[in-house]
Symmetry: C2
């Protein structure tokens, strides 16, 4: 029996009509749909894709062993998360070996910090794969707040807020346009870096972009805490045509 | 009479099924569709969106006064292109004032080097606007060649090949992951910068990603010339999970 194909499918930033036509069709015709989620939760990628999942589709929930209980720097986190990705990949491999195609749903764009990459990395040698791009969170956010990002020769830097404050500051100083991802607990670091780099006045904060409870404001008006689904946009500096 | 709404719609990198569901629906129901094109050509955005344009849709062609005949650095280029964007914006304004909604098609992602930004910039104060994100060329390309770009804390830099060689080299040295856009005539500069930054061995060249005549190879195996629709991907360097 032929083995199945692993489809890694980006479901975009939040709004169900921001999936691509290809992603929507693949999900609609999938016999198995897999996705990461937290214990007792529906799973964010699954919520976004919900309208496209048809009755009778087998759903494979990949439940994180922990989320924020352990710090990312803790060796236990690394060991625990790697073992989790190993187990999840094995679950998919078992289905693929039975000849089943598997669609893995991934928030935003799979190859830009997407967790589904860790499954792809583990399975790509052994199985046929396809990757369907998704609208990245940043694209969804800058479209929603109607903020053109790069004109002409602007360089865009996509920067994780998890970096040390000095690195954040340096990147913001150099970048023409910048997106700061993974804000979460790093708000005060991001604030300091925006001030030190002189980019605060142009920075826009966007929370849950394209989702129903979305919120946006100039960064210097936002609070001290941010949910996981938030980012900061700093538009480019070059002249417009 | 109420004025119309300007919809700036990303049509993605090339494949018709990589438009979002929202973009497809907007184009299908549009009474006016506008797009940039070259004299005597169909227009690339129009070609991508073709399957979604219905009979009876009014098509407004915005024909570039020149494309590669004048160098971008030439003051005549700047004057000519600005006058062209002014005229194009005026054409859209005339339709919007008559109460017509206008859908402007834009290759890739409108706010990432998209020409439609120059219309948006001119019309946003005067008319209601909506912006629909598109799959950016880079997302389409890295998905097609199945190259995960950013793991963990990788910084991604999106760099126009039009920059001076020393700047290209410096950006490539600093970036964890990099995308070089706007290759065109800048191939030798890009090659030198990849060698000088030590990133050549990881660099992948992708031409017309997701389009029917797409082509990809390691950068050091590719030729001396590149079409406009080409880019270079340098994946991130950080450890995988």
């Amino acid at each position: 029996m032929a083995t199945g194909t692993l489809h890694v499918v980006g479901v975009g930033p939040g709004s169900p009509d921001l999936l691509t036509v290809r992603a929507a069709r693949l999900i609609e015709s999938a016999s198995v749909v897999a996705y990461f989620c937290r214990e007792g939760r529906k799973g964010h990628a699954r919520t976004i894709a919900e309208t496209y999942i048809t009755e009778g589709t087998h759903e494979l929930r990949l439940v994180y062993p922990f989320t924020t209980e352990i710090a990312v720097e803790d060796p236990d986190y690394q060991r625990g998360i790697q073992a989790f990705y190993d187990r999840s990949a094995q679950q998919l491999a078992d289905m693929l070996k039975q000849g089943q195609d598997v669609v893995v749903l991934c928030e935003g764009e799979p190859f830009l910090y997407g967790s589904a990459m860790y499954l792809f990395d583990r399975l790509k040698e052994q199985f046929a794969t396809s990757v369907v791009p998704g609208i990245a969170a940043m694209n969804g956010c800058w479209s929603q707040v109607q903020l053109p990002m790069t004109h002409g020769d602007d360089v865009l830097c996509v920067i994780p807020a998890t970096l040390p404050e000095a690195d954040l500051t340096r990147w913001l100083q150099q970048a023409d346009a910048a997106v700061i991802m993974k804000i979460g607990r790093n708000m005060s670091k991001v604030r300091n870096a925006l001030v030190q780099s002189g980019r605060m006045s142009d920075a826009r904060y966007v929370e849950r972009g394209t989702q129903p409870d979305s919120f946006s404001c100039p960064f210097d008006e936002c609070g001290e805490t941010a949910p996981y689904f938030s980012l900061v946009l700093v538009p480019g500096r070059k002249g417009v045509r």
